[in-house]
């Protein structure tokens, strides 16, 4: 049962970290829990479908279907976060300055929330499909099923608890820095997902590694350690990344922070926006 608990917790933790960042980044947006909840539900349904189609995916593209599928899911999530970050840079400051009237402006918030709903759905789908495959294997193998139910439930609950704790922690960031902090976290999250995608493309042998590994920091923090896992989910930590993964990571950081800077309205333009008090 302990093994099941740990395995389920691990997968749920990764998805929960992503959901907690998304939840924090959409603080104050009306109807966000509905979007996040929909993302989770769609992700769960998708996880079942992916697990059911695991054999087909594995056999596709001369045995490299899994790698392409994972890379595709990860890059799609990266793109959606990128879209949101750039959109927020354009409109976020305006939204923050009109925070009191947020509810009235749902239509303005709808576009990036769709993007983040997709991010949540993809995260849940990716981690969830492994849990479903694992659980299916346990049932098919005839292993004790109460261990599966108890361990699975405990794993799910503790994973969600970790996500809630992370979210509560993020909310303690002072309001002045809040959206800059969550936007920064979203950029690092996107970079980590892109680096993971590069890892799968390395694994599929379609991209060169440049260096494998580029460095080895496992003496400091292994991928196996809980902190290593949490940091992997949050900011894409890897103890032994390939050169290509680091290149993907840095490219996304540069692209998104540069894109956000370019998209941000000029200061004089902001000053020109009439304040609600007049």
């Amino acid at each position: 049962m302990l093994a099941i608990w740990i395995l389920v917790f691990r997968e749920v933790l990764e998805a929960a970290m992503i959901v907690s960042i998304v939840a924090a980044a959409t603080r104050g947006v009306a109807g966000r829990w509905r979007w996040i909840g929909s993302g989770i539900l769609i992700g769960c349904a998708g996880a079942g479908l992916v697990a059911a189609g695991a054999e087909g995916i594995a056999g596709a593209l001369s045995g490299m279907g899994q790698e392409w599928f994972n890379a595709g899911v990860l890059l799609a999530a990266t793109a959606m976060i990128g879209w949101h970050v750039v959109w927020m840079a354009r409109h976020g400051r305006q939204l923050a300055s009109e925070a009191g009237r947020f509810g009235a402006d749902v239509s303005a918030g709808r576009r990036p929330l769709t993007a983040l709903m997709v991010v949540v759905a993809l995260a849940v789908l990716r981690e969830g499909s492994e849990v479903v495959l694992f659980a299916y294997g346990m049932l098919a193998g005839g292993s004790a099923s109460d261990g599966l139910v108890t361990g699975g439930a405990l794993g799910l609950l503790s994973g969600v608890a970790a996500g809630v704790a992370m979210y509560a922690g993020l909310l303690r960031i002072p309001m002045r820095h809040f959206f800059r902090a969550t936007n920064g976290l979203l950029i690092l999250l996107a970079a980590g997902l892109a680096a993971a995608a590069a890892g799968f493309l390395n694994q599929a042998d379609v991209l060169p590694t440049f260096a494998d590994p580029l460095w080895d920091s496992s003496w400091l923090l292994t991928d196996d350690a809980w902190l290593g896992r949490a940091l992997h989910a949050l900011v894409g930590y890897s103890a032994q990344p390939t050169g290509m993964q680091v290149l993907f990571y840095l490219s996304i950081v540069v692209l998104l922070s540069g894109g956000a800077r370019l998209a941000a309205p000029r200061r004089d333009a902001i000053a020109a926006v009439p304040t609600p008090s007049t």
């Binding site: 695991a54 054999e55 594995a58 045995g63 790698e67 495959l133 294997g137 098919a140 990344p241």
Partner: protein
């Protein structure tokens, strides 16, 4: 214009094919009763190899290794190819994530 596009396509294709020009030597790794057989597999160092992971169990498994940067699900009674290396000489542990208590193994590159 179309000539440069064609040239570019050719370049991309040749770059892609140079990544996997010749089929690397194959090594078989079997999963049986949630264990890897053999648990230690000797492979040549400094060359790319193809691991063929054959799952003889009815239950799915995930072949995973941090040291090799590999993570791949193999379904019940399924077979997956895993390209590895070129590796520097050394020991590279791997495990089956779904049954990590028993499914432990390592590649010995020499």
């Amino acid at each position: 214009m179309s000539k440069s596009v064609a040239l570019f396509a050719l370049l991309v294709m040749s770059a892609a094919s140079s990544v996997s020009a010749t089929e690397p030597p194959e090594f078989r790794l079997v999963i049986r009763d949630h264990r890897f057989v053999p648990a230690e597999l000797k492979v040549p160092a400094n060359t790319k190899i193809k691991l063929v992971v054959v799952n003889q169990d009815a239950t799915p498994e995930e072949f995973e290794s941090h040291e090799l940067n590999r993570e791949k699900v193999v379904t019940g009674r399924g077979t997956i190819p895993v390209y590895v290396g070129p590796l520097k000489p050394g020991r590279y542990p791997f495990f089956g994530e779904f049954h990590a208590e028993t499914a432990q193994g390592a590649l010995i590159a020499q």
